[in-house]
Amino acid sequence: MKSRKLSIPYILWMLIFTMIPVVMIGMTAFRDKAGNFSLTPFVKAFEYKNVFLKSLWIALLSTAICLILAYPVAYLLTKMKKSTQNTVQLIIMIPMWMNFLLRIYAWKILLQKNGPLDMALSILGIHGTYIGNTGAVVVGMVYEYLPFMVLPIFTVMSKIDTNLIEAAQDLGSNGLAVFKKVIFPLSIPGVISGITMVFVPSASTFLVAEHLGGMNDLMIGDVIDRIFLTDQNTGSAISLILMVFILIFLVLMNLFGDEEAIA
């Protein structure tokens, strides 16, 4: 029981399969194809700065929409009986168990030309294209990651001490004031971890933009995937930039949030 030795296999495992690969990314990013030290990969990576900005924009938009949609859901969850709570949580989680690609594919069918949405809306006399634009990518993203926003906010909210709420009510606060002064401030840690859990994967994901977006909606993940086939150095440079960016984001988020909410 006292033994630290039990962690040795895993420490070795991490060294080989977590640390060394990261070091390799770093080393590959600073080399040219011949293997000499070079900054060319970063110069080439810089050519993709618009894709980078676009990815951040899509991720930001998706995270904001997830937050707006998820916050009321989390709040309503806390108002339910325990058994209803479990059922509703399950209903929210089930789509997450479907394969990531199948969920994108479902939206592809739904949004395509002459697809169900197009048909339904054209009965009402509305015609348009619903796929191949930034909006479709954002919808797909929100669909993929919405539960990641609901659950942490709900977890934090359900831990709020009922006495605090009753105290506020005794002291004369009405429902809105209780929400503004007690529930909302205390739910911030959950919001922070929700934002982290949605923003990080949506900024770095690939395939969503390829299948739902148009020519201008390529995201940084798609670029890494494509470029790695022909140019590992530039691919590594972009990956390194992405990783550093995400680490900075996480550190910033950690300054405001509390770690317990994530685990």
Binding site: S3, L6, I20, L76, V88, M98, I109
Partner: protein, 270 residues
Amino acid sequence: MKKNKLGVVSKIYLGLIFLFLYVPIGVLIFMSFNKGRNVTVWKGFSFKWYGELFKSKELMNALGNTLIIALLASIFATILGTAAAIGIHNFKGKTRAVIQNVSNLPIISPDIVMGVSLMLLFSFVGVLLNFEMGFWTVLISHVCFCVPFVVLNVMPRLRRMDRSIYDAALDLGCNQWQAFYKVVIHELMPGILSGMLMSFTYSMDDVVITHFTRGAKFNNLSTKIFEMLRKQVRPTVNALSALLFLAIILVLVIINVYERRAEKRAAKRS
């Protein structure tokens, strides 16, 4: 918080969210019964794509691979992760914080970065030792992203565990090994099981990391669907989705019933 009944507006809001979550899946499943080859145009009811699905050796093979990888990865990750959690628990202060932070790296770093970094490692070692990426590299990669979840699930249980039970077992004549598996493992079991379940589902769901570490020949369900989506989609994919969805619901219902029973038993005992 007070458990008042939800108002009409709240109910409608939840209903709309549920619609958003389930309409795409509903459409996907509905189209699996389409007679035509095209996924858009409805040409009448048919089970033919389910037949095609079971006849497709490639898809069945891919399904087998997915299940084998998920099973092996979650078992291996559970053993490695549980041992690691117990070991890490015995470290103090800074060392422990460093180990835990490194362990969390695969969770926080983007999938795609982890995928390409492992690919770099495997192709480098592959040239040295003359092997190609395939089953084993995918398995190793899956273990990599599963272990942190096991550690995260077991750690809180360890923190809550009462050390004196272990000492009591020793006093009552257990040797160290007996005390370990009769007391410690027993106490950690719920954490171990949920870590394993999480590993299994993450392994089933993964696309990105498998895509980068599978090499040229190995395919699981994710990479097979990936290929089909890029080329030509047939309603077999829809039939597959419908069956997967059914399987998920079944598993969840079984787990739920099991948990309810366990709760009832626990309630009776106390």
